[in-house]
Amino acid sequence: MNEPNLDDEVILEYLAECREHLTTIEADLLSMEQSGAAIDEQLVNRVFRAAHSIKGGAGFFDLHKIKELGHRTENVLDLVRSGQMIPNSEIVSILLLAFDKLRTLILDYADSNNADISEFTEALSRLAEEHLEPDQKHSTQETLTISIPNGRTPISASVFDIEQARRAGKTVYVIEYDLINDIQRRGQTPLEVLNNLMKCGEILGTEFDLESAGTLDQEPSNTLLLNVLYATALDGYSLSQVLALRPERIHHITNDGAAKSLETPAAVSAPHFASDEPAASDEPAALHEPAAVPARAPAPAAEHAEGAPKPPSAAQTSQVESTVRLNVALLDSLMTLAGELVLGRNQLNEAVRNGDKEGITAGAYRVSLVTSELQGAVSLTRMQPVSSLFAKFPRLVRDLAAQLGKEVQLKLEGGEVELDKTILEGLSDPLTHMVRNSVDHGVESPAARVAAKKPALGTVILAARHQAGQVVIEISDDGKGLAGDKIGASAVAKGMITAEQLLRMSENEKQELIFMPGVSTAEKLSNVSGRGVGMDVVKTNLDRLGGKVEIDSAPGRGSAFRIKLPLTLAIIPSLLVSDSGERFAIPQVSVGELIRIPADQIEQRTDRAGDAELVLLRDRLVPLLYLCDALGSPRPERGSRALNIVLVDSGTIEYGLVVAELHDTVEIVVKPMGRHLQGLVEYAGATILGDGQVAVILDVAGLAARAGLARGGNPSVAAPLAEEDRTGELRSLLLFQNAPGEDCAVPIELVTRVERVRAAQVENLGGRRTMQYGGVSLPLVALHDVAAVDELVETQQWVVVVFDCAGQTLGLLAAEPLDMLETRVVMDTQTLRQPGVAGSALLNGRTTLMLDIFELAGKFRRPGPEKSVAAAPPSLEVSAPSVTILVAEDSDFFRGQIQRLIEAVGYRVLTADDGQSAWEMLDSHAGEISLVTTDIEMPRLDGLGLTKRIRADSRFDHLPIIALSTLASEEEMAHGISLGLSDYQVKLDQDQLLESIGKALSGTELRKAPVTA
């Protein structure tokens, strides 16, 4: 027989057995790899037998391809068993992939004879042949030719290489280089560029466009096109950043060999190229990352595409099983219960026929009892141990760690805990993502770990346990933890929250912002964790499963993500409420508490802010949503009715749902909504209540989204931010008044505290003001001390804005009203410039003085504050400046800040407003300058370009260069350091900057050797 006999039960039995073999094989192979030369014979034998019995059965059923692949695998394993081959990671990788392929073949056994397995068999035979030199570079005859859309010379490379890169989690791109414009004109050599490329990935192939060079008798061509087939863990956007190439020049190669140009969505106005609008470049680059995601999201359909076989990565092997193995005892108990049910029905029928009321009651009781037992037993059949889900993670962690150059061990705990099959399946992707995150972002590189006095080997623990009727799955690592501030900054930059809201958030609340769409930590660059799924998607998936996720993270110590899941999905406890004459169910898991506000307290306890209604709950304001509003029915007369509020938590936002009446908590059976109603985000499903009425299940997240509720209950704040003028720098400012009507602003990051004071608290000693603050005497300065402005008047509510300025604490006298604003500032540094005032800007339609704290502090320190100040230039009269520092910064505002900060500690400062002029200045003051601080994003010549130029000049190879950037990812920092930067500082942490300058000047900070080819 040529066609496998598919209806045969024997074959199904065989396939089930194969699948069983395959589940254990991965773990066995991994331990084989670990034991290396000291092979555990039993282990190898087990794997060998698995391969052997897969092969044997396949031969019997005429499954040729399965048989052949099984056979080759067996050959290699035989070599291992006989000690002729030491299972190193390469060998194990190939074996793992072969077994992956076997799994795919077995899953689709009917079509397996048509599958192409040549790549695997070749790899295996090669292993068998060349096992003595397993490190030799592989080459296969099979090549893949990739054409890119613009029709230039196609590029070919070995399929094996491409697949190997993909297996390592890399993405394959074709990069269009123009040797003349991209390399020569940037002062680089091809060797440098290629070496650079090889640092972040692998060059799989290259192809010149010979035509572009022209011939000798033509003018020297000004383009020379080279296509590079490149595999890297970087995502497309980062790649275009690192290479400083426009995204259109980089093509993502999909699994089926097609090339897709990296789209350039509006958000990817890559800073490198946006030189005509330098202000926009202050945004942290990493935040654009999600925008590039669609380009590299692997198309799942490609798995089945024609062409070379694509082994699924460990993450993708979670196939939905169509059969379940059951314990016979469980089946027996089901049968018994079914019998009981029949008896109960008979009893009930009998009683109904006789009109025996007592009998009916007894019968109903019996049926009810059996039903709940039956329900329990049936849901047990759907319960599966989480170990089946956990099984794939050792491999995932191994592959990831190897690829990221990290050392990570995975510990699995509580594999025996059982969960509903549906939940397990739904959990697979979120869990994969989170484990990836832990390895990629959580655990540090071995070097960083050792530096932090941790063992080089990082640990990721995946644990499951029962807790209060729920299953808790915890993913924890001992890595660097979540940086709430970075996440917060990212959320602010995305306009999800305002800077003001951020200030009020606890560390944990900041960390939880990671679940908001588009928010990322700045480090999030690698495509390992990218995969087009953000934490918000993880959250959404978990919400769908009725799960909750909590974060517990301490910077430096590690993070734990705790997922709480219901045991089963189909039956959930819910709170019944009613409104507008209908009943609704709210899943209990979303309900935080129930609040009833008596009619006479409503006035005091609720408030309005703009369009939003708020309720005061203990010490918080929680937004209110009237269910009747959401339903579109009129609100009932307020009158003397109390307010019933269900405090619900959608995961991203907590709000009070106002309903007409509260009822019981009941267990409801969830029925999905009909297809025609599924677009209604407000509803999660429906259920039939005990009385036969239908109740709709509310989706609290959907309700909030439909009503436009935002975190913090202030939906109006975030939106306008995004629409504001995109010019100018995005700054967070504290606004206050000086004299009535004189609006002033300072950057919020400079402010330590704001205190209310009464005029009487200010002590005036010898022409100097101080006040008691935290047990010490705080020197106070008023703007009119140094600048020609009006004085504060007593009728104003005074405040003291406390600054920490170059090691000195200083209070600035100011007056309310205070406000906080995040906006793009275009500063006029001419018109209103005077000592202590860096310039002015138009904020909220009012001219606002932008104060210069460093200058204020500097003026203040000098005895006898000058009263006679006109628009004097900034003073440079620092005592005997021995050291000169060059500050390159395109933003007037920052340049002034940095200048005065550095001057405040006694150095001389030269400033330049871009890299080019910095270079010119450096060139003409060669001997004088001892240190350079530079912004990264600048017009004409950026900070990295400046660094390269400085490093290329032998006069300056000792010169410390400190980069100052708003937010930088580790990747960018590493890149900068590799170009010769001495340090990378965040703009603008004054203390750290001064410390870094101090270190660099004292020579204690060794500069990394510049990388030049």
């Binding site: 390399i183 050599t189 091809p190 290259t206 010979l210 035509e211 060079a213 000798l216 033509q218 061509s221």
Partner: protein, 106 residues
């Protein structure tokens, strides 16, 4: 040292560029090569024994020369290539288009 015997025919020539193949030096070399091709040389050998560096424009010139010679029915041969440059050529797969061989039997 190279194993290549210098071609004997009239339409063959060996050129020994002095120093690096970088933009600044190329115009002269380009003119020289152009002249040779114009004079009927179709089998051209470039001995890069004295070359330590090749930049993008240098590669451009090599490819231009290859294009010209191929059009004329001949070929370009590059010999005496230092290890770094050889690596570069191999990475760029330039050696698939014309013969490249290194110094010291590389």
């Amino acid at each position: 040292m190279n194993n290549k015997t210098p071609p004997q025919e009239v339409n063959s020539a060996v050129v020994h560029p002095e120093g690096d193949l970088v933009a600044a030096r190329l115009p002269a070399l380009r003119a020289q090569l152009q002249e040779m091709v114009g004079a009927g040389v179709i089998h051209l050998t470039l001995d890069l024994g004295a070359t330590r560096m090749v930049d993008s424009a240098g590669i451009g010139l090599l490819i231009s020369a290859h294009n010209s010679l191929k059009k004329a029915g001949g070929e370009l041969t590059v010999i005496g290539v230092s290890k770094d440059i050889l690596d570069l050529f191999r990475t760029m797969r330039i050696h698939q288009h014309f013969s490249v061989s290194g110094s010291q039997g590389l």
